[in-house]
Structures are given as C-alpha cells and as structure tokens.
C-alpha cells in the first residue's frame, strides 16, 4: 500500500443495515452479519477477501465474473458469494483446491483476451485484474495468443477527461451499472452479445453520447479500460488528502490524489456524507483551472484603471490598500468604504473579511454574493421557521414519497443530489416539477414527473397560493400538526386568505397559465401522497417576490405537516460551495454570524468584548446600495473577495458605472476577472486546493477543506486579511484557520460545538452543533420550530413591474448548465468547453419562426437595460413567449440585459424575469464591442508592455 494514500475498504457488495443479525461460519470462523448481507461482504468483514472483479461495494451484486465462487455445506455446486445472502448456520468455505482451480480457470479465460502490457499500462499498480491474477496464482495461459480477441479494438479518446480502451475491458458491467444505478443517466450499455459484448455509449462516441461525464464509470472500472487521461499522462498518485469540492452547494467530498504537490486526479470519497462516492463533471474533472496559466500569482497595483498593471510585493499592495482606504474614510466619511465576501471562500476567510469591515473599517458595509442568489431563502425561512437554512440532509430524500422541485434544475445545477433524487424517483417516489422550462427531470430515463406545472415566469406566488387554496378548501390540511406545531391564529388568517376565490387555481390560471385541473391534482398529490419534500433553487428566489415565494413554500410544508422529520422538508439547493457558510458567517450588513441582528445589544456586546472595539448598531449597505452610492460619489472604496460582480450582477452597465466611480477597488481573486478591469489593487487568491478551512453546504454540513498544495501566491487569503487589518491599525492574531473556527464557535451559538478536531473525527457536522446537539443536526425543527411556533405568512401575489409589451414581448429567464459554473472563471479554464463553449439563446419554435430565426443564427437580445448578440438554439424545452440563456461567458454579457428590479425584502435581483425582444442580426452589440476593447485596454500588464517596448527598441 502506498504510504499516505487513503485506502477505502471495499466489501464488494453493499452493507445492509438491518436489525436482524445472522450467525454463520466462514472458513471455520464463526461470525455474525446483518441479514441480507452477502457472503462476500460477511467474509470481508472478517478480513477474508474472496477474489472478485465485478463486485464493488457501491453497486448491487451482479454475479458475472465468477471469481467469487465458494462452497457452502449442503448446497449443490459453487454459488457466487456476491449474490448469496448470509443465512443462519451456513458453513462457507472460501478457499479450497476445487475453488482455486476454478478461479484460475476463470482468470485464464480473462487473460486469454487481455493485453499483456502491465508494465506500460496506466493502471499498473491500481488494477483489480492484475491483483486478482496474483491472488488466484495464475501462472500460465494455455489458450495461447492466436485465438479470437479484442486487442486491436479502437480506443475512444473523445471525452476530454477520460479514455476508453475496449481492448482492456473485462465486460464486468460496473461502468454500465454505475451509470444506471448511481448516476441515473443510462448513457452506457453493452453492445453485441457473447464474446462480442463491448461497452458502448449509445451508437456514438462518449463525447457525443448522453454521457454527462460524471466519472462514475471511470470510478467503477477495475482496469485501465476507463481511466482518467491525467493518470495516463502523469502516472499513479502517491498520496491522497480528503477535501471538499469548490463548485456547487452539494459539497462533495473528494480525495485529492497527488504526486507531491501535483494533483493527479480528484476521486470522489465514499465516506463523504453529501455525495457518498459520487461526483459530477465539474468536481471530478474540471479542477485544472487551479494551476491554469491565467492564475495571477503576484499582487498587482495601478494608479488608474486605464494604467497597465504593475507587479508588487504583498507588503506594498497591502500598504497601498490601507493607505487608500484610510484616506478615503478621512475624506468621505467612515461609511464610504465596504467589502463584499465570497461564497467561494472558506467560512474562516469570510468570517475574517466581515470582521475586517466591522472591526477595522468601523462600519457594517459588508455584503455577500448570496445577496444575488439566496438572500430570500434566509429571510423567508427565518421568518416562518426561525432558521435561515434548509431543513434536511440530502439523504432525507431517500425517504420522500412525493418530491416537489420548484425553480431548480438539479441535473444541471446540483448533479450529485439530482442522481440521489432520481434514484428515489426510480424506486417509486412521485415528482412534481414547477418550472417554466421543461427541465430534464420532467422526463428522463426511467423518471417522469407526475405533474409538470409549466408556469409563466414571475408567477410562482400565484401558483403556490393556488396549491394552498386546494389544500385548504379541499380539507387536506394536516390539522393535528398545525394545531400542535404552528401559530394557529396566524394559520387561520392564512387559511382564510388562501381560500379566497382569487387564489383558486381557476382564477390564477390567468397569471400562471396553468390548467386548474393540473394544479388541483398536484396539490392533492403533495398533500396526501405521503412524505412530501420540497426542493427549490434560484427560480424561486431571483424574483421581485422571491422572499414571498419562499414563505409560500414554507406555508405549504407546514399546512401539510411536512416539516420536522426525515423524507420531508423545505430544501433550498444552494448555488455555491459555501453560500450557506458565507451567510452563516455574518456577511450580511445587518447580521452577525449566526443571523443575529447588529442592533441586538446582547449579540453586539459579545462581539465587542471579543474583538475589543465598539461596533456600529446600524445595518450597513447592501451591494446594490454600495453601487448606487458610488454612482452618487458617496461610496469610494470596495474590497471584493472572490466575486465578479461586473459579470454576475444584474444590469452590468450600472455595476461598472459604480465601480468606475470609486477611488480604490481591491479585487482578491484567482484571475483578472471582469470586476478587476475596474480595480486598482489586485490581490492573488488561492484555489480550494490551496486552502485550509471549511465549507458549509446546502444541508448545513460543515466540511473540511484541506490544503493539498501551498498557495501559489505565497500567502493564504486569511493571512492577507490579517495583514490588511494590521495595516489599518486593527490587530488580528491567528496561527491557523482552526483558531478562526474556534472564535466562530465562541461567538456563534449554532456553531458552539464545532472544532477542527470534531470535524476530523466525524468527517463533517451539520449545524446547529452545540451542547444540545453535539454531533450536529441532520433534520431541523423536529419537535418544535426553532422560532417556537411555525409562522404562516400571508403571501399576496403581486405581478412584477417588469412587464412584456409591444417593444419587449418575450420574457428572458437565465440560468446555468451542467458543464459550466456561474461566471465560468473556473470551468472556462478547463476542457469543459467541449460541451459548452458559448452562451446561446434557447427559443421556442413558434417565437423563432415568427422572427425568422433558425438554430445557429446570431440574434440580438434587447431589454430596456441593454442589448447583446448571441446564437439562437430552437428548443421545445421553452414555452412560447419565454427565452433562456446562461451567463457563463463574459463576452456574451447576459447581465447587460437583466434589470435592476429585485426582491422587495432582500434586493435579490429579478434575474428570472426580463422583458426582451429578439431579432436576427449580423453584428455584436455596442456593449460587446466596447467590452472586447476593454478586455485589452483595462487588463494590460506593465511587464508585457515593457517587453514590447524593449522589442520595439531592439528593432
């Protein structure tokens, strides 16, 4: 075994968690195992490894390789130990002469159709076939080498990340089964029969197939048949470190498998509670950005944004920021600077930035990118339940009977959770999708939604009120639950409200476009179909009534008694790896960590004592307010931690106007992003591979992020923050991120029991983690709501101000896709472009025909905010009147088009509803042309210019 390499024990078949124990004898040793466990796994628990190739713990037993045959007293023949469950009194022999001969015979057959190139094979040292040949003592292949074989079969190298070499395939079906059982995509099959059996990705190559490149097949392959190209290039890793993926809010655990400080591959970690060994194309493969040549490794400074960047030392850059910020505060007042924290950074890094603002800047001008995604979740769930977070763990979905997915597209946005969900749906749970688009979940292999309520964008509240109307007026309310758990007066007034005729499915049809009968049927299913779980995403929050929608969801769950146990709940699918954490850490201008208002004297007192400063008791500025104030010349300095507001925030031209009006913009990031075009100081950040800390995922799970390589910039981000605080005259003192967590725990009741020691011991914990729940809280609101009684809220539907009309007759809704991530800063710097290399506009055939638009045409997309051009794709996933695009590519500028409308409660932008017009065009928009120029003019490097000048002079 390679030292430092984490070896996960593979029992060969799933371990059944049963109460009933069975006692049997294996190789003369008496043992017990849960009923339903295979003989193979029971033997493995004893340490007796029965040879096997087609069996692995993550997959149901299959019984094809025939290496694991055993003898069982009183039974005929030699049954396969993987498919034979343990039985009381069974006497099993796993090693006899007869079995040894059989196993050698089977192995001899395998090797008679396998290349003998072990020494040059990429799986050398990590090949189960090789191991088994050794284990069974194969010494000779008597069939010779002249027989039929597959040695000359052509490789499929089309996938950018892994290779398929059919010559090495042993047809164990592990890849096919993983694709079906774990991923649920059903992209792989076996083509041909008998000896001709070969793995096939449909009738095409891997890249052009249904394959979503999740890596489950590669993970499952026991040989070099499906193997990472990085392993082919680099060889086998020598050490591994368990860490947490830095893409979406699922928070998958991975083993970073390393050679020295070079990553060889990211392998999903079976003991990671969020993903249990599964992965998606981003986390599994798209990590190459971390060492991309675009990474900035040195601080950069410049006087004006039109100047070229100049490299600086950390000391110089920090001193510059401190001097500028101090000057600005002296000149424009204490409130003229602020910071934005990043949901991509660790809890510890975020905590320090908000501490920097509150303690060193002396104001509360800190906000976070959650503002533009899940701020309504925080508001809505805090109001109704008392906690700004989802109620369940992911595993809970395994016990759901009816799943409602609202405004979320899990197969693209949260693929690893989607696989878990689809598995449950294949096992019989019913699905209701509420989404303007026909997302993949509506109909995919072996999954079909019972109801797809394809509503018009912006009418979520009307639709949810209609569902509630049916539940209340048809007597489907779980009255016992409501009486015991909720505020009954509030409930009654809510029930009277939703029962109003204007909230009936028949009346709201005029807004939603949903057939009343469908709404009624869906409501009955959710209310009466057993454990009902709601999962939602940004299609709920990014609206002018985002917070109202979250509360309407909470109302439904409470009315039907679907809160407080496994299988139910209200579950926001958080977008970013640490968006839950960044909110928990006190990133909002009105809240300290743990969601305590800055005006709360007791909380503030606690922080003041610990931090030794007086804190402002008034909330600070939100991001849009900062930009508005900047345009008004009252806000002059901004520290942006790992966020690209110039690409991600709505109404780009307003954002850049605000940035351009500031006197000191500091960007801390991996790359010179769009916002950095407007920056005066650039501080090089560190990727997740360089970080030490924690991320908190959508299930409130605090996962460790462990450093596998030193920060490329020579300084960790938390250290840079300390330096800046000190330069501003405020002392911070931490030797390690664990000490920051200790401070978080000391100041935050829901984190009181969290420490790195505990995280290392348990793997992860879900907050609240404190004296009442020392090992964390998988399910919230179990006996009572955190706020006491669940609070029903009146959710009056108010149509958005953003209206379609003759000038802008279509509704644009935006989102993202599987292979790219948000602003694309990471994924665009990987081979994921193979699947998606530009943002396109999806348009319904009717709307396309009306405008003479064909797939591939360049079209202009215009709103009252701005105009861009992009390629059109005709798609029946859309409904007529609605178009869709993504915002992954800065050159597209999707947010040039989106508007400044936002959620009434939290200012979360209304990304999902913009009135637009689409027409054919033959040119890029003015903004796009200008942006292209600025990509060059605002990103120049002094040393390049110097080199250029030197070259010119030499000529």
């Amino acid at each position: 075994m390679r030292a430092g390499f984490i070896a996960e024990v593979d029992h060969g078949t799933p371990i059944r968690a049963g109460d009933e124990q069975v006692t049997l004898t294996i190789d003369g040793v008496e043992t017990t195992a849960p009923a339903g466990t295979s003989v193979m796994a029971a033997a493995m628990m004893l340490g007796a490894r029965i040879p096997r190739l087609c069996a692995t713990e993550t997959l149901e037993p299959f019984g094809s390789c025939r290496l694991c045959l055993v003898e069982i007293e009183g039974r005929k023949g030699t049954p396969a130990s993987c498919t034979t469950p343990v039985e009381a009194g069974m006497v099993v022999r796993t090693q006899t002469e007869r079995l040894a001969k059989l196993r050698r015979g089977v192995m001899e057959l395998y090797i008679s159709d396998h290349p003998l190139d072990c020494l040059t094979c990429a799986a050398n040292g990590d090949c189960e076939l090789q191991d088994m040949a050794g284990a069974v003592g194969l010494r000779d292949v008597r069939y010779g080498s002249s027989g039929a074989n597959h040695l000359a079969d052509a490789k499929d190298l089309s996938n950018p990340y892994f290779a398929y070499d059919p010559a090495k395939c042993i047809v164990c079906y592990r890849c096919v089964r993983a694709c079906e059982d774990i991923q649920g995509t059903f992209a792989l099959t076996v083509a041909g029969r008998g000896f001709d059996s070969r793995i096939a990705a449909g009738a095409t190559d891997f890249l052009n197939s249904e394959c979503v490149s999740c890596g489950a097949c590669v993970q499952a392959c026991p040989t070099a048949t499906l193997i990472e190209k990085s392993v082919i290039r680099q060889g086998q890793p020598t050490r591994s470190v368990v860490t947490t993926c830095a893409y979406c809010g699922v928070g998958c655990s991975f083993k970073a498998e390393m050679q020295g400080d070079r990553v060889v591959r990211m392998a999903p970690y079976r003991h990671g509670a969020a993903n249990e060994g599964h992965s998606c194309v981003k986390g599994r493969f798209a990590w190459g950005y971390a060492t991309h040549e675009d990474r900035i490794r040195t601080p950069l400074v410049r006087e004006k944004i039109t100047d070229p960047w100049r490299e600086a030392t950390w000391d110089e850059a920090i001193a510059r920021v401190a001097a500028d910020f101090s000057r600005i505060q002296a000149q424009y007042g204490r409130d003229s600077i602020g910071a934005i924290t990043s949901s991509r950074c660790t809890n510890e890094e975020v905590f320090l930035i908000q501490k920097l603002v509150r303690a060193a800047f002396g104001n509360n001008n800190v906000d976070t990118c959650a503002r533009v995604c899940h701020s309504p979740t925080g508001y809505g769930l805090k109001t109704t339940f008392g906690t700004s977070a989802g109620t369940q763990d992911f595993k809970s979905v395994d016990k759901a009977d009816v799943v409602v997915v609202i405004g979320a597209n899990p197969t693209d946005g949260h693929p690893v959770f989607a696989s878990r969900l689809k598995k449950r749906l294949r096992a019989g749970a019913k699905l209701i999708v509420i989404d303007p688009r026909r997302i993949d979940l509506v109909k995919s292999p072996h999954v079909r939604a019972a109801h797809h309520l394809q509503l018009r964008p912006g009418t979520n509240v009307a639709a949810l009120n209609a569902l509630a109307h049916v539940i209340v007026t048809e007597g489907l309310v779980n009255e016992a639950y409501v009486r015991e758990r909720c505020d009954t007066a509030e409930f009654e007034s809510w029930a009277r409200f939703v029962a109003l005729e204007r909230n009936s499915p028949e009346q709201s049809e005029q807004f939603t476009g949903l057939r009343a009968a469908d709404v009624r049927a869906a409501a009955r299913l959710y209310a009466t179909g057993g454990a009902g779980a709601i999962y939602y995403g940004l299609g709920v929050t990014e609206h002018s009534q985002g917070s109202t929608t979250v509360m309407a969801i909470a109302n439904l769950a409470m009315a039907t008694g679907n809160i407080g146990r496994e299988g139910v709940g209200v579950n926001p699918l958080r977008g970013q790896n640490n968006v839950q954490g960044s909110c928990d850490m006190g990133s909002f201008p009105h809240e300290f960590s743990g969601y305590r208002h800055v005006s709360d004297d007791a909380a503030r007192d606690m922080f003041e004592k610990m931090w030794g400063v007086t804190l402002d008791d008034e909330p600070g500025l939100r991001i849009p307010n900062m930009l508005d104030e900047a345009v008004e010349n009252r806000f002059k300095g901004l520290f942006v931690q790992g966020e690209d507001i110039a690409q991600s925030d709505p109404d780009t031209q307003h954002v850049t106007a605000g940035l351009a009006a500031m006197e000191c913009v500091v960007v801390l990031d991996l790359f010179l992003n769009e916002t950095a075009k407007y920056a005066h100081v650039f501080l090089p950040g560190s990727s997740f591979l360089e970080k030490d800390g924690t991320f908190t995922n959508a299930e409130r799970r605090i996962n460790r992020v462990r450093q596998v390589m030193a920060p490329l910039a020579g300084k960790a981000e938390w250290q840079a923050t300390i330096d800046l605080a000190r330069a501003l005259g405020y002392e911070m003192n931490y030797a390690h991120p664990s000490e920051i967590m200790d401070e978080i725990a000391a100041l935050t009741p829901t984190f009181a029991g969290v420490s790195y020691d505990k995280l290392d011991a348990l793997g992860s914990v879900q907050w609240p983690c404190n004296a009442a729940a020392p090992e964390g809280t998988p399910t919230m609101h179990v006996e009572r709501f955190v706020r006491g009684k669940g609070q029903f809220m009146i959710t009056e539907y108010t149509p958005t101000e953003e209206r379609t009309g003759p000038r802008f007759p279509l509704i644009l809704t935006t989102g993202r896709i599987l292979s790219q991530y948000n602003v694309g800063a990471q994924t665009r710097r990987t081979a994921n472009g193979a699947w998606h290399d530009e943002d396109v506009l999806e348009i319904h055939p009717f709307d396309a025909e009306e405008r003479g638009v064909r797939t591939g045409d360049l079209v202009a997309l215009a709103s009252r905010s701005g105009e861009i051009s992009l390629r059109a794709v005709i798609s029946e996933r859309m409904q007529p009147g609605v178009v869709y695009t993504t915002f992954h590519h800065p050159a597209t500028g999707a947010n040039v088009v989106t508007t400044d409308y936002s959620d009434w409660a939290t200012n979360c932008p209304e990304y999902k509803v913009t009135a637009v017009q689409v027409r054919r065009t033959n040119q890029y928009s003015d903004w796009q042309e200008r942006n292209r120029e600025e990509d060059v003019s605002l990103r120049r490097m002094a040393r390049e210019e110097g080199a250029w000048n030197d070259m010119a002079a030499a000529k």
């Binding site: 037993p61 299959f62 019984g63 094809s64 390789c65 025939r66 045959l69 023949g77 030699t78 396969a80 993987c82 498919t83 034979t84 469950p85 007869r98 001969k101 059989l102 015979g105 089977v106 057959l109 395998y110 008679s112 159709d113 008597r142 069939y143 002249s146 027989g147 039929a148 042993i170 047809v171 079906y173 099959t189 076996v190 041909g192 029969r193 008998g194 000896f195 001709d196 059996s197």
Partner: protein, 522 residues
C-alpha cells in the same frame, strides 16, 4: 349440413403448402357446387403427412396426406369429402398406430379442434379445470399441482407446485404469471404446436395459475420466429377476454386476470427465465443472478411464476381430472406425460405424447421408423443443443429425468434429434461451443470467453496440435464452464461436448488420419 374439411394452419403444415391446398379445395368445391366448411386446425403432429387433410364422416375423421394442391381434383373425384378411397387416404386418424399408441393429455385437442373456437374448446372438455379452480382456494390449487407431480417442462424439471407455493406465499401488491414460449431448442416444436393448435388450453392454464398464486396479470413471451403462434395467441386472448374467461370482468372470486402476448427479442438466451424477464421488462435480455429467485423477485421485481408452455398447459387437466389421474402416468419422480418431439435424420418426425418412462428406441424406431437415410443410428441428441449425445447403445434408456441424469444426459424440453453413422461427432462438439458462443448473453466470463476458447481448443485437438495438452485443457474448460457459469447456457454446453468425447473418442483424432466421410446429414 355442409361437409366439414379440416386443414391444419400449423406453421409446419403451412411451410409445406397447407394454405395452397386449402385454397384449392375451396375453389374446387365451388366449381363442383359443393357446400363445404373448411376448418383450420392445429397439426396432429405427424409431420411427414403434412399437409394432412381430414374430413368428417359418420365413421369418424378420415385423413388424407400428404396432400398437394395438384392432388385436389383427383381427391374430389374420388369423393374424399365423404371419405372416398384414394392413394393418399390414411383411414381413420384416431385408428392410426401413431395416434393410437400415444397418451394425449396435453395435446388431446390439437389437430382435432378449431383452435380459435371457444365453443369447440368447451365442447372438447375445455374450461372445466378453470371452473373448478374458481371454486378452490389458491393454496388448494397449488396443492393439487404439487400432488400431480408436475415438473417444469422447460428443461430444468423443477416441481411446479413448489414454485407456485413460493409465489403464493410471497406477500406483494402485484404478482405475475409469465409463460416461457421462447422455444429455441433445436428439434423442438411442441410449444408452437400447442399455441397454434390449442391456445385456450394455455390461457386456461395461466388463468388457473393466476388464481392459485394471486396474480392478476400474465404475459406469454413468444419467440420472434413464431409469428403464427403469436397471432393465434393474440386472437385467442382477445376472444377469451371477450367471452369473460379472462380479463377485467372474469368471473369468480379470483378477481381479474389480464393476459398479454409479447414477441421475443430474437435471442436464444431470452428463453432462460431471468433473461426473459429482463427482455419482457424492455431491457436487453441478460441473465440475472439467482438468488433472488423469480418466484420472489421476478418481473418488475414482483413475485412471478415463470413456467414453460407445456407446464401451464398440463394444469387444466390436473384440475379437471384430479392430480391423481395425472400422476397415474409416468415413472418414479417423473409423473404425467411428456410431449416428445422427434426430429433430425428420422423417417417419421413429429410430436408424440407419452408417459415418462418410454425409451428412445420406442420413439426413434417404433414411432420414427428409423433414420430417413436408412443408415444405422449412431447418435441421438436429447434435450436440445445443450443436451448430451447418446450412442446407439443407450437407446433403451427410459426417458425420465432421473434415468437420463444417471447417464450424464438430460431430457430438457423433450427434443430428440437423430443422427446416422455419417455424423462427425468432433464437428458436433465444436458446434456445441459455436452455438454457445453465438447465443451467449456475454454476462459471465466462463460462457462469454469459454465458448470461444472451446471452439479453438476442439479445432486444435482435431488438427492434432498438442493433442494431450489440449484434451486436458478442454477438460478443465468444461469444468470451469459447468461449475462457474451463471446459467444453464454456459453450464450445460460441456454436456454435448463431453458426451461426444466420451462416447465417440475416435472422431477427435486428426482429420487426416481418418477416412474421408460424407457430410453428416441430420
């Protein structure tokens, strides 16, 4: 009353021109102004006499065969329609030795009745079993089947009553009856003949099975090469539903029983019960590991009875005449009758239903009349392509499960293929591997790779390449396939190979050392 003339619509009869004969008879009768009614029936199973035309006379059914269209005018001239004498006349069908010496229980109506006439079926004793079953508890029906000693006719010979009891005892919201009609063994055709000749019998048997175990839905998986059987079954199901024998409105406390015929996927392996279930579910047909047994975790994961056509078709008589009457036939633990199918190099091929215990010699010599070529019988393959080759010396072996197992053979689905002394048994052994290689589902290693290596190894042996080493290798390979294969496909392939090697070692010598032989004729 018009004259009734019976002409088979059985696929075997059709293949030798039964339709043309029927057309010619109808046309000729019209020309002659004769009022006739042509009834299309199943086949009597005397395949050398097809197309076999029968007429109803006061003296019983008189047969003429084989009839070609050109014979028709002369037959009319001879007054065949009233039983007149003619060179093709065979006399009373039920008096023919071939028919008289059989014990037709399952095949009692086949060839005699109109397969799609429910009245005809009822008039000939049909539906009595189902009617009786409807007044019995499921457990009592299961017990009757157990008491009859009925064993699975698909090949494995597993006691049907025990399988049914497992399904009966399994708690589930849905159970299924699946009929395996993917009849793929070489030299077998009994399932096809039954489905084409007496489809209501199978429907009745399945309805009884449904009643017995509590299944409300059934499927008949018919091999794709049986289009006529498929059409007949579909039509019979529709008529049975219309008549309320099965379907949502079926009478009795057993509740509804829906039945559907499905066309197979065109693979031999889909006749293996678990592959069949996968295929029926719409998947690629590959073998499932057992346990779990289909009786517990079968079609769509629900408890399922999977039985062969002949097994299910034996059930109605067990119910109507009682288990004892059925068990009175047969020997030892092989009770009842078996529809044997004689094929290959034989003078008179066809279907012979006899109690277990008859010998191969009875069938091949008495019924079959020896080889068609007139040469001596050298080898007989019993039980399909995976069955053993028996030498002439073993022709007196009684045909029952245990006696055959004792000599390293098996009865399978009752197919008997005869070879004369020109057969090259090394080629037959090679063919066994070839067949396995072609038809293997490819799931398990011994079958997927072993079959191909088997062909290559036999070739080396026959070519005299390292003969002793390769013989030892062949022996080892056969052991790996027998003990290691997932299903009977790979597990039984060594049976024909080893029996050929055991009984006919001389054929495995170098080809050059043997005198040239004429091509073997089946």
């Amino acid at each position: 009353m018009s004259l009734r003339i019976f002409i088979p619509r059985d696929a075997a009869a059709l293949s030798v021109g039964a339709d043309a004969v029927a057309r010619e008879i109808a046309a000729d009768a019209r020309r002659r102004g004769l009022q006739i009614e042509i009834v299309r029936t199943g086949s009597r199973g005397m395949l050398w006499l097809e197309p076999l035309v029968e007429v109803e006379t006061s003296a019983g059914r008189i047969g003429y065969g084989p009839v070609s269209p050109s014979d028709v005018p002369a037959l009319f001239d001879a007054g065949f329609h009233v039983g007149g004498a003619h060179a093709r006349a065979l006399g009373r069908i039920d008096a023919l030795d071939w028919m008289r010496r059989q014990n037709r229980v399952t095949f009692a109506r086949v060839g005699a009745t109109d397969p799609l006439s429910l009245e005809d079926y009822r008039a000939h004793g049909g539906l009595r079993g189902l009617e009786r079953a409807r007044n019995m508890r499921g457990a009592d029906i299961v017990e009757a089947v157990r008491a009859s000693g009925l064993r699975g006719r698909g090949g494995a010979g597993f006691p049907a009553g025990i399988k049914w009891k497992t399904v009966h005892d399994a708690g589930a919201d849905q159970k299924y009856i699946v009929c395996n009609a993917d009849e793929g063994d070489s030299g077998t055709f009994a399932d096809r003949m039954l489905m084409e000749g007496d489809p209501f019998l199978l429907i009745e048997g399945m309805a009884i099975a449904g009643r017995a175990v509590g299944a409300t839905s059934g499927f008949i998986y018919i091999r794709s090469e049986y289009p006529h059987a498929f059409r007949t079954m579909c039509e019979a199901i529709a008529r049975a539903e219309q008549a309320g024998v099965i379907g949502a409105s079926a009478p009795g406390a057993g509740g509804p029983f829906r039945l559907e015929a499905r066309l197979g996927a065109g693979a031999y392996i889909c006749g293996e019960e678990t592959s069949l279930l996968d295929s029926l579910e719409g998947k690629r047909g590959i073998v499932r590991a057992k346990p779990p047994l289909p009786a517990v975790h079968g079609l769509f994961g629900k408890p399922t009875v999977v039985n062969n056509v002949l097994t299910l078709a034996a059930v109605p008589s067990i119910l109507s005449d009682g288990p004892d009457a059925y068990a009175a036939y047969g020997v030892g633990r092989s009770r009842g009758t078996m529809p044997f199918q004689i094929a290959g190099n034989v003078k008179r091929g066809g279907l012979v239903e006899l109690p277990f215990g008859a010998t191969l010699r009875d069938l091949i010599e008495d019924f079959g009349g020896g080889t068609r070529t007139g040469r001596p019988v050298r080898a007989v393959q019993v039980g399909g392509p995976l069955g053993a080759y028996l030498p002439a010396a073993q022709l007196d072996t009684p045909l029952d499960y245990e006696a055959l197992a004792a000599i390293g053979a098996m009865l399978g689905h009752g197919g008997i293929v005869v070879f004369d002394d020109t057969v090259d048994m090394a080629k037959q052994a090679r063919f066994a591997f070839e067949f396995c290689a072609k038809e293997s589902c490819g799931k398990c290693t011994p079958c997927r790779i072993g079959a191909v290596r088997g062909v290559e190894t036999v070739d080396r042996i026959v070519a005299g390449v390292e003969r002793e080493t390769n013989l030892a290798l062949l022996e080892d390979l056969n052991q790996v396939m027998t003990d290691g294969s997932l299903c009977a496909m790979g597990g039984l392939t060594p049976m024909p190979v080893m029996s050929a090697l055991r009984h006919f070692p001389e054929d495995f010598h170098r080809a050059a050392q043997r005198p040239a032989m004429p091509e073997a004729t089946e």
